[in-house]
Symmetry: C2
């Protein structure tokens, strides 16, 4: 049954369950109705069930259209056979009898099989008003009833419960009930638990929009009766819509999914009702008749792929790939190349080292701010460790500077370049503007870029004709430092932290876009920093 | 075909497309193989296609297992008939011939029908190695070839392109190709576009983990040849896995989804390859044989339901529902009730009004910080407007205080209560810690709570026996202010803003939890504020 099967499978998937399907009958149908039905031979129904049950352990089962007595018997036989002596997983039986458009989907002679043989295996049976009336009429006691109110729903559900299942959910989508009816029912049945989902509760006056909801407003109620004696009424707002194709299948599939995950019956029914309600509200409005609902309403596209063996740093990879040209311009900057060739003018290096000495003050302060924005000790420790690393790094700067004839006083008294001011200010602004992750995004380009430049030089030094040399290079220490183990380990720690942030708190598309912007801007500010060294140093 | 159909439908859904299905044959199968096949009569295949096409406009079509010549002809006939004279939507033909487990899924006599009648309708044909070899062997030119390398893939794809489709994607999952092969192929074919997805690009040395990927590493390549003359090679890392059940269906369904959304062929194939690759990497590992992939790998559960007519403020409703008891304790606080009854001791009110005068300074500063954290003019304007509102509110405080014999000096010189320090400090800490939305979350309880308390008192004043009165109540102005239009309009603006934040940048579960904590803490701090008034005022 194509429409129902699709609704089932999408519902299972939306609940994180893996659905397996057995087809009892094919339909030629669309939103306007069922044009034709083609039953599958009972033997092949059994074969399908066998294939499915033999391979993967099943957490719950739901049945939909069974079509005729032979197929209903085939399902009972295959299930009873497979689970003989071991107990059947939670079975939700949606006793599909008639399609929304009025097409008979369960032959009269099959109704008895369903009642006598399938219901006793079922954890739950989920008829709507007309299915309940039909089932009661065909039952041994031949109850003739018309379900028109909450009271009659309660009685009918009680009658249905005597037919053998562990619980009955009588769906009231076609029964007119108002908020006032619900309130008076609730007053008269203190033993019945009434759950209002999607309806405003106490102390929510401020959330009322326009005309306040009045007691004559229509609600939809489902009644759940369990063999344990518990009765629950689930109410939600009535929606005027034509998008109800597959609503019943969706609800029963969602209940089965919840049961498979170990949820209790009442909780499973409640969660499934909310899921189905949201799916109807969010329906795409397809087709000329009763259109389908949106089964993935509760799912959003993830922006960052999951970590995997072939992609251990998915966010960082995405950042770099989003700025290929800017990143390459930074990492393979003329400054870096000349430094690698050992021919960078000393004045350029001197300008750079002085500005970097000033910049690292901002960089340390940014990590102080990061510590202030952190809410766990490991995060505070990690930010603090980086400040300690920076304090070590400036000692290296002092030593290296001395080799180039730059005194500590020169470093301390150097005039701050305007690009240093710009970059430093940007870091602290990101720290003011956003959360800890946004600030991490801002400090990342500097951390990663120097490491990548170091590795690039180290690798180029082995490539003939690159001109990059280590031996005798006055800047060798710079290259060794950034390509060395200590710095690369700091990178590893930084990568793990940023990826952990994205994993623990996956960004929305808007947030990811914001991160990409910060990363790009910092990559540009880094390149600008070296541009300045080339310009003002020569 | 159950397994393929499921893969198709989940793939369509994951791409935001609504899939409709036509079943040509049923299978009894699981991850270990296909146990049996039951073909659907050709007439019923046609009927299903008619039902589907007659109702909903179709953006793209894909075919899977066609089983035999009669069903293949039925598909061609129904499609040609329906789209006669109007052009067929993008048709992706996945020429399923043999299952992963070796079961024949396309009878030999059907191959000719597929080639001669279906391929000419197709935008794309997507054979794997063995299907391509079989198709070429059965084609008019009876080409005998063995596909063993990138070069032979390129040639075979070219041959297949002469059979009539607009493009051919030859899938190389079963062809052994290394990174070195790819590099040398790329050097020799400068006219072929080579795309490396999931492989590390230039300047990504820092992202290498453990042993660096070597030239002998295996990659998976697909070759896309188009009638336009364009050729694209798509390479990605090889994954050692058994979870490949339905990989081909998934890929072709993903391509069809992309084409339905108007993506170009090469882009559609690239995106679909990445989607399928991630699905394999994220496979749940089910079954005893070749298990299915995860089709919803790119989807995450949304925490906040979408805005809907019955739920216009979903996030705020969720916040209030998450703290029902604390919220009620705050809104219906003893302080509020006594105030509504006009019997609140003047000393309590005096303590409250002085502390509130101090608190509003923090509240204004928090909105100054909010302005500093805002990145758009409307956000800056909104934060600033609230500061202006507060400045008006303290004028009201001064007037109201005067009525209770509290001078402006008394207000200015009042000693700050420790709960005022706690609450004010919490607001500014949230502003330091998080982004603008987190700060908004912190200022929300105050904004909403006073409005809800005002409305509650106004409503209670109409309830007999509540004791709440407006007439002659010395605190009437307080009640009128917070239940009045101006304040309620400010609430409306605040609600719209917070909901807009959650809609534009939907929170992850971790972020929502953080928001709920902030909301709860502020609700408690609000109640504590009134507790203090009751305690220190009496």
């Amino acid at each position: 049954m194509a429409a129902a099967l699709k609704a089932d499978l999408k519902t299972f998937a939306a609940h994180g369950c893996y659905g397996m399907s057995v087809i009892t009958a094919l339909t030629a149908q669309n939103t306007t109705g069922v044009q034709d039905v083609f039953p599958v031979p009972p033997g092949f129904v059994e074969e399908q069930i066998k294939s499915v049950l033999d391979d993967i352990e099943v957490g719950a089962i739901k049945t939909g259209m069974l079509y005729d007595a032979d197929n209903a018997k085939a399902v009972v036989k295959a299930l009873s056979g497979h689970f003989a002596g071991m107990g059947i997983p939670a079975l939700v039986c949606d006793p599909v009898c008639v399609s929304t458009s009025g097409h008979t989907l369960l032959h009269p002679d099959a109704v008895e099989v369903v009642i006598k043989e399938l219901f006793p295996l079922a954890a739950l049976v989920t008829p709507n008003k007309s299915e309940a009336e039909l089932l009661l009429r065909y039952s041994e006691r031949k109850v003739e009833t018309e379900i028109t109110s909450l009271e009659t729903m309660l009685d009918a559900a009680g009658e249905l419960l005597t037919l053998g299942s562990q619980a009955v959910l009588l769906k009231g989508g076609h029964v007119t009930v108002t908020l006032a009816d619900l309130a008076s029912f609730s007053d008269q049945h203190s033993d019945v638990r009434v759950i209002r989902d999607g309806l405003l509760g106490e102390n929510m006056e401020i959330l009322q929009v326009e005309k306040s909801s009045s007691a004559s407003d229509r609600v939809v109620v489902d009644v759940l009766r369990e063999k344990t004696g518990d009765t629950t009424v689930l109410a939600r707002p009535h929606i005027s819509t034509r998008s109800t194709h597959g609503t019943g299948c969706t609800l029963s599939a969602a209940i089965a999914s919840e049961l498979a995950r170990g949820t209790s019956m009442a909780q499973a029914v409640r969660a499934a009702s909310v899921y189905t309600h949201l799916g109807i509200e969010d329906a795409p409005g397809l087709g000329h008749g009763n259109g389908p609902l949106n089964h993935l309403h509760s799912l959003r596209m993830a922006c960052v792929p999951a970590k995997s063996p072939s992609n251990p740093y998915p966010l960082t990879k995405m950042l770099i790939e989003s700025t290929t040209a800017a990143w390459k311009h930074f990492v393979e900057h003329e400054f870096v190349r000349l430094l690698g060739q050992g021919v960078l003018p000393a004045k350029c290096f001197a300008y750079f080292i002085k500005q970097d000495y000033i910049y690292l003050k901002y960089y340390a302060r940014a990590h102080g701010l990061l510590a202030a924005k952190s809410t766990s000790y490991p995060e505070i420790a990690s930010a603090t460790q980086i400040i300690l690393n920076i304090l070590t790094e400036i000692d290296t700067h002092k030593t290296m500077s001395a080799e180039f004839g730059i005194s500590i006083e020169d470093l301390e008294n150097a005039e701050e370049g305007i690009e240093t001011t710009g970059y430093g200010g940007y870091l602290l602004t990101m720290g003011l503007e956003g959360d800890a992750t946004k600030l991490l995004m801002a400090v990342l380009a500097c951390l990663l870029g120097y490491g990548e430049a170091g590795l690039w030089l180290k690798k180029q030094a082995t490539v003939k004709g690159s001109g990059i040399v280590l031996e005798g290079n006055p800047f060798r220490r710079w290259i060794e430092d950034y390509s060395g183990e200590a710095y690369q380990e700091a990178i590893r720690v930084g990568l793990e932290r940023i990826e952990a942030c994205a994993e623990a708190d996956p960004p929305s598309p808007a947030r990811l876009k914001d991160w990409l912007n910060v990363w790009k801007r910092c990559t540009e500010l880094e390149a600008g920093f070296w541009d300045a060294a080339m310009k003002f140093g020569s």
